[in-house]
Symmetry: C2
Subunit: 162 residues, 2 copies
DNA sequence: CTGAGTCGGTTTGATTTTCCAACTAACTTG
DNA sequence: CAAGTTAGTTGGAAAATCAAACCGACTCAG
């Protein structure tokens, strides 16, 4: 049994699968994209993503329940809320950036699309490096590590802020 | 009209949305994860992801039609194929890595899960930097750029290999 | 040669999700 | 007072997904 095998019948439980349970539902990443771009209100998020309102409601509740976004009240009467990224939510930026960069390299077609830039003004050309060794992550440099659960202490700088 | 607004009724056409059309369908990223880990056969991909066989078939066809993976024949009688990442497919690694890193920071709970490492042996701690200015991408450093289509020349080092 | 097993699917029918348009409640604005 | 705004909810149809069974073309053990 090599390290990449799993038991005969159990899907591989890994952090990629876990992340997708929250971020992988339809419209979730697009809603987070909007908040990253400074759009915080329900109607505008619905329009800019194209999600139907009922599904968007459901996604925002899921994201909120996982601490990725929070509802911030901006009106008392009637009660009205804006959606804002938490620290956890802001840290999905590398996912969006990697996705945008991949897509702008490989998904070009006749459709005109908004591209993205780094705040320095340059076209998006992100480089992913390993904080430990400083080397760039090359395709194939992703390896399986050990099983991890809450029993393992979480570094203080990575503790969840709600 | 600020740069983050779209027309009253049109969703924002951007490269994030475009990428999600291919990579955002259920099971697509998990299938690509398996191929990244060296699992190339239908049955094993189905088992390791948990996808049902019919929708996995459909996903693999979609990924193939977008040039993200390719079918490689490994048996003539009966005809049997393995699924392999193309160059384009291998370059989704930063997306998977960013997702795994985010998830291992923010999605810890009682469930034991496989973690990932860089090939140097270190725990996954990726840093995303701008190739142009060398600065790290910070949350909020993603800005909208201009509209782009195929009319724009694609850099030679980014041309699609099939 | 027979029977079991493997592999990569396809088929079937039930379940779940998503979509869309309309509707609502509680306001604000002209 | 009528119209508009905002953040949803509701209902019914359409689409996607699910699980399990089935299939054809093989291989392999006995």
């Amino acid at each position: 049994m090599t390290p990449t095998d799993t038991a005969r019948d159990a899907p591989r439980a890994c952090f990629i699968a876990a992340g997708l349970e929250v971020l992988g539902e339809r419209w979730a990443l697009l809603a987070l994209r909007e908040m990253s771009l400074g759009v915080h209100r329900f109607d505008q998020i619905a329009r800019n993503t194209g999600a139907s309102r009922d599904i968007l409601t459901s996604r925002l509740r899921t994201l909120e329940s996982h601490g990725v976004i929070e509802r911030v009240q901006y009106s008392e009467h009637p009660p009205r809320h804006e959606y804002h990224l938490t620290t956890s939510g802001a840290e999905i930026a590398p996912i969006l950036i990697s996705l945008a960069a991949w897509s702008s390299t490989w998904m070009r077609d006749e459709t005109p699309r908004a591209s993205y830039r780094h705040s320095c003004g340059a076209d998006l050309e992100p480089v992913l490096t390993c904080a430990e060794c400083g080397e760039e992550f090359r395709p194939g440099s992703l390896m399986l590590g050990p099983l991890v659960s809450t029993a393992d202490p979480v570094p203080v700088n990575q503790q969840r802020q709600i």
